[in-house]
């Protein structure tokens, strides 16, 4: 299985277009949104600056790009082409493929997180009180991306062919916006804020925001993430088994 994980990582790194998209794009978007913002003024409803808030949002967004978009499209395509069938004829246990996909996606999501951090620190002078916050943020955003990797696997097994891209992007942009990854949810009207609270991307961003403020992640957000992981993971596993009947 390690060979498969290594190979999945190798070929992802070879896919220049994909790497560019997932590593450069979030950092570029960060500069577009936060580039002109004041580095001292606090965002309404929080005690953090926009560049800092957006740094966590865009790092999260970049991680989601790498794991969700990458996984769903690749899995749907590989199912269609019969590669998943071929792989089923090896000693690799069924979950191995899914594990390899999640693992390789996680390796790609790490640089995208780090690039956003580096750009934010260099260009917008983002600093924390303590160094541990950088490490904790990286760990939390990275670990949280597994939830979306599982969602990517589920979507890859749900949709085929032409349908997979629009479905992925609706989920991807919908979740990103609603979860407040592009703009703080504080600017949403109240009714939308009430919905956003339960969206996985919101809980995901909130994990990071708690650390930004120097605290530990809220239990509620962790619980929401775990619940979504169970939901997406369960759906992925169920769809994978169902696929055996029609593959």
């Amino acid at each position: 299985m390690n060979t498969l994980i290594k190979l999945e990582i190798t070929r992802t790194l070879r896919n220049k277009k994909f790497m560019f998209f997932s590593v450069i794009y979030p950092a570029a978007l960060y500069l577009m949104i936060a580039g002109g913002a004041s580095t001292t003024e606090k965002v309404e409803g929080t005690n953090l600056t926009l560049p800092l808030l957006m740094m966590v949002s865009m790092a999260s967004f970049g991680a989601i790009t790498a794991v969700l978009v990458g996984n769903s499209e690749k899995i749907a395509k590989e199912r269609e082409k019969g590669w998943v069938r071929q792989l089923r004829l090896t000693s690799l246990p069924g979950r191995g493929y899914v594990t390899a996909k999640v693992a390789s996606a996680a390796v790609v999501s790490l640089p995208s997180i780090l690039v956003v951090f580096a750009v934010a620190a260099a260009v917008k002078d983002v600093r924390f009180d303590a160094a541990w916050q950088w490490f904790a943020l990286t760990a939390v955003i990275w670990a949280g991306s597994i939830v979306f990797a599982a969602l990517g696997v589920a979507v890859g097994y749900l949709a085929t062919g032409d349908a997979v891209r629009p479905i992925t992007f609706i989920i991807y942009f919908g979740l990103s916006m609603l979860g407040g990854l592009w703009m703080p949810t504080a600017v949403f009207p109240q009714w939308l804020q009430d919905i956003a609270e339960w969206v996985p991307t919101h809980a995901y961003a909130a994990l990071g925001q708690a650390i930004e403020q120097g605290g530990a992640p809220h239990l509620k957000d962790v619980a929401i993430m775990v619940a979504y992981l169970a939901l997406f993971g369960g759906a992925a596993a169920w769809l994978y088994r169902k696929d055996t009947h029609k593959a």
Binding site: G82, R85, L89, T244
Partner: protein
Amino acid sequence: MVSFENVSKSYGTVRAVSDLSLDLYPGETVALLGPNGAGKSSTLDLLLGLRNADAGRVEVFGTTPQQAIEQGKVGAMLQSGGLMEDVKVRELVKLACDLHRNAYPLERVMEQAGITEIADRMVNKLSGGQEQRVRFAMATAGANELIVLDEPTTGMDVSARQAFWGVMRQQANEGRAVLFATHYLEEADAIADRVIVLHRGRVLADGSAAEIKAKAGARRIVFDLEGHIGEAALRELPFLASLEISGRTVRIQSHDADATVHALYGLGLYPRNLEVAGLGLEQAFIAITDAAAAEEAVSR
């Protein structure tokens, strides 16, 4: 070793496999022969656990197909299995070796499959025949007890095909069972110890290539007749499998050509341009499937 017990599989209203029962034994080389839509690929998919049967039981090495594969007892090569993209041939075959419980050395696998020269090429830049050889390498990455091949030589040229069957024979000589689906009848005839003819998801005939030929009428007799041809008398000939008259030419398939020809002279006829020839497996195959279709028409 492999056992199908009253296995059925339908896709919607189409019955791909219908109440199929068969057993395979260690060391056999078996051809699964049938026209398109006969249920060959479906049967192999069931055997490999890629699909689940609607009814009946499929057992491979005393366990489920999935488990037999996980234990590294079965290697398989699919007709159209896609390959991983953005990887080199060597990397992909190494993956197959690393995933196998009893893997052979990588270089040996590649050499046997004849892909050593293309080891550093990207998989998505290969020709159809080269891709097929990579699939073959993946199927033979380790010491399997059973090798399953679905129309393995599709897309290969003649020399590649010969090389392929050379390696396959070697595998069989090492005591491995080989099961392959094919529509190349010469292949079934030349390579298989046992031929299973499938038609509409059922086993139509099961035996050695010679037995299959015998079942369809082993010999073909062709001759011309002058004057009035008494069809009724010809139909009474002994060991007759089929009779066809076109113009002056009579074509007969017989289970015992000697006896049939002897009786022909016994009728007082004088056949001209008499030819007696063996039936190829191809004609035997057509004869068997035609007979089955006719039977089906009668029973309706």
